[in-house]
């Protein structure tokens, strides 16, 4: 039994404006209701679906996993940038063109001009991040919607890419990067694989398939983890940490949620937005560099429609198109769904044109679900 005065105090405490109309929320429900929920459900659904229709096609063998893993990782790399930018309240439609541009810059500098590959890569990063900053600067200074400004850059950069490529090499595909990159101190970060020894050991132990004849006999079919996947994981982890744990992340949410309210409490909204444009450009350049190192060539038409694919991943992942709300983990799951569906239909032997039908359907379903979840969390009506 508590002494009477203690009871009195307890009563006072419970008297403070608690709203009796608010239902108690169970821990389970609280753990469930999160921005990524739609994407998590979508991921489970997609995996179950393909386990059922393509489970025995090799889709879930190491090679199969590498196949859709790499495609998903590509989507994830650009989705992380698009996600943070969208949460900050802006779009970048020039991502696809930026990918083509960055690739051609690397190829021209390294193959045509004879620069070392590492210098060409650094130059591409500098140029593209600067272009991202220009995008952001124009959006901030003109007050125009980023949709329009970056749409202009979608055309400008694509045109420049083709022009540069044709003017310097008389063709739109520039090969020979792989040869130039041999022994390069930076190129290995974007092409090739890591954990080679580990995978060799797996093959020796008979856990994964190895070649049984030919010149590579005894070597594992899956050599290791592609650097592309490493980049994707690193960017997702970095993006998630930045967004949810840091002060800058709070400013990203604030800039997209209500720029004016954020300015009133001293958040440097313009700086946040321009930095996010630069980060998106950085992600596009990572994508381009990995692609160039993998193919050994650059082509002026690379990256077509990537800006929309990135936005689809982000929206499937639960982000709000108008900014202020979203999740990097969700966007990464969106990229996973994208990759698994695209490659899964191939494994399942389905008509590949159905990919877009399937994707459109998932997009609608995920967004409907996300809208409901978001209303539950944020109290929108």
């Amino acid at each position: 039994m508590l002494p009477p005065d203690k009871i009195y105090l307890l009563n006072i405490k419970s008297d403070v404006m608690t709203d009796e109309r608010l239902k108690q929320v169970s821990t389970l429900r609280r753990a469930m209701i999160r921005p990524e929920l739609g994407a998590i459900c979508g991921t489970i659904l997609v995996f179950v679906f393909f386990f059922m229709i393509a489970g025995d096609s090799g889709m879930f063998s190491p090679e199969g996993i590498q196949n859709w893993g790499v495609v998903s990782a590509q989507f994830a790399i650009i989705a992380v940038g698009a996600c943070l930018l969208m949460i900050a309240g802006e779009f970048d439609l020039s991502v696809g063109s930026m990918i083509g541009f960055a690739g051609v810059v690397i190829a021209i500098l390294s193959v045509h001009m004879g620069w070392p590959v590492w210098l060409s890569i650094i130059a591409a990063f500098v140029v593209c991040v600067a272009l991202g900053a220009l995008n952001g600067f124009l959006v901030i200074k003109t007050g125009l919607p980023s949709f329009i400004v970056t749409l202009a850059f979608l055309y400008i950069l694509r045109g420049l890419t083709i022009w540069l490529s044709v003017m310097t090499t008389r063709q739109t595909i520039i090969g020979g990067v792989k040869e130039a990159a041999i022994g390069d101190p930076l190129a290995f970060l974007f092409g090739g694989v890591i954990f080679k020894d580990l995978f060799q050991w797996f093959a020796d132990m008979g856990w994964i398939d190895a070649f049984t004849r030919g010149s590579r006999i005894g070597q594992p079919v899956v050599e290791g983890v592609p650097m592309l996947v490493v980049w994707a994981l690193a960017l997702v982890i970095f993006g998630h940490w930045l967004l949810t744990k840091t002060r800058f992340g709070n400013w990203i949410f604030a800039s997209g949620g209500d720029a004016q309210a954020a300015r009133y409490v001293g958040v440097p909204v313009n700086r946040v937005k321009i930095l996010m444009f630069m980060f998106t450009a950085f992600c596009a350049t990572v994508f381009a560099t990995c692609q160039v190192m993998e193919f050994g060539s650059a082509a002026a038409d690379r990256g077509l429609l990537k800006e929309f694919e990135a936005i689809i991943c982000v929206v499937i992942g639960g982000a709000l198109l108008t900014g202020g709300y979203g999740s990097v983990i969700g966007a990464a799951l969106g990229a996973l769904i994208f990759g698994v569906v695209q490659q899964g239909l191939f494994f399942a032997g389905a008509e590949s044109s159905l990919f877009r039908v399937f994707l459109g359907t998932i997009l609608i379903l995920a967004v409907i679900m996300n809208t409901y979840i978001r209303r539950m969390i944020t109290g929108e009506r």
Binding site: K245, F253, Q260, V265, Y325
Partner: protein, 259 residues
């Protein structure tokens, strides 16, 4: 009599040919609630924006605790201890209470080059400060959008008080609220005042002003009609000063009550 926390002398503000403020004087002292009343278009918004550093006055002087000062930005005003709670721009509804509370001044922990928000401390302080204002949050991570209008105002007020505001400017905090929420916000104003903070309460509702105000200043068409102490003026007189009297009096007659 103590030096006013903030003193505005003959403030004028011109926007091109328009004279938005034509010589307004206003002050607020420690622990008082000074109500600034005025109808729409009277110049209330322009005046508080001048006080909070958004606009620079065209003429006139501002003093904070007796020293003359000029603000270049809202940030300057905030650093001088003048916090403004805007009616609709106070909070970002999609973000959690904690994230809103600390926005722009997040407490951080660090390890080497890595710095991150100390959410444990942030949540504890948010819960405590809200409880002091009389609101028990279910959880500090809940989105501000799930709070009622009155609670949102209270989060903004609690935030300003916690970060050391000496003067709190409230821009029509009650105009969009229901009866019960209004009384909660008025009770919060009273609490804040008792801690020694000077409150400037902007409203066009005479009854809300009479409920908490210590002094009343009426702004009409960019000019003040003097300042009255509590008890020296009746609600009807205030109403008349705000709207220029005559027409409203006739309307009251035909409707049979105070508007």
């Amino acid at each position: 009599m103590t030096t006013p926390l903030i003193e505005m002398n003959n403030i004028e503000k011109h926007f091109g040919p328009v004279i938005a403020l034509g010589g307004v004087s206003f002050d607020v002292r420690e622990g008082e609630c000074h109500c600034l009343l005025g109808d729409n278009g009277a110049g209330k918004s322009t005046f508080i924006k001048t006080m909070s550093g958004v606009h620079k006055p065209s003429k006139g002087t501002m003093k904070v605790s007796g020293t003359e000062i000029a603000f270049d930005s809202p940030r300057d005003a905030m650093e001088a201890g003048i916090a403004t709670v805007y009616q609709d721009l106070a909070m970002i509804p999609l973000m959690s209470v904690t994230r809103n509370f600390w926005m722009g001044r997040e407490p951080r922990k660090s390890f080497g080059p890595f710095k991150w928000i100390d959410f444990k401390q942030a949540n504890t302080v948010t819960l405590d400060e809200m409880a002091r204002m009389g609101i028990n949050l279910r959880e500090p991570e809940q989105a501000v959008g799930t709070l009622s209008g009155g609670e949102r105002q209270t989060v903004a007020i609690a935030r300003a008080v916690y970060f050391g505001a000496k003067v709190l400017i409230l821009d029509e905090p009650t105009s969009a609220l229901g009866v019960r929420q209004t009384s909660n916000v008025l009770a919060t104003i009273d609490r804040v005042r008792k801690t020694g903070i000077g409150v400037i309460f902007i409203t066009h509702n005479v009854r809300h002003a009479m409920a908490v105000g210590d002094r009343f200043t009426v702004l009409n068409r960019g000019q003040t009609h003097g300042t009255a102490n509590r008890g020296e003026i009746s609600p009807e007189e205030l109403q008349d000063l705000m709207a220029g009297g005559q027409e409203l009096a006739e309307l009251e007659g035909s409707l049979g009550g105070t508007i």
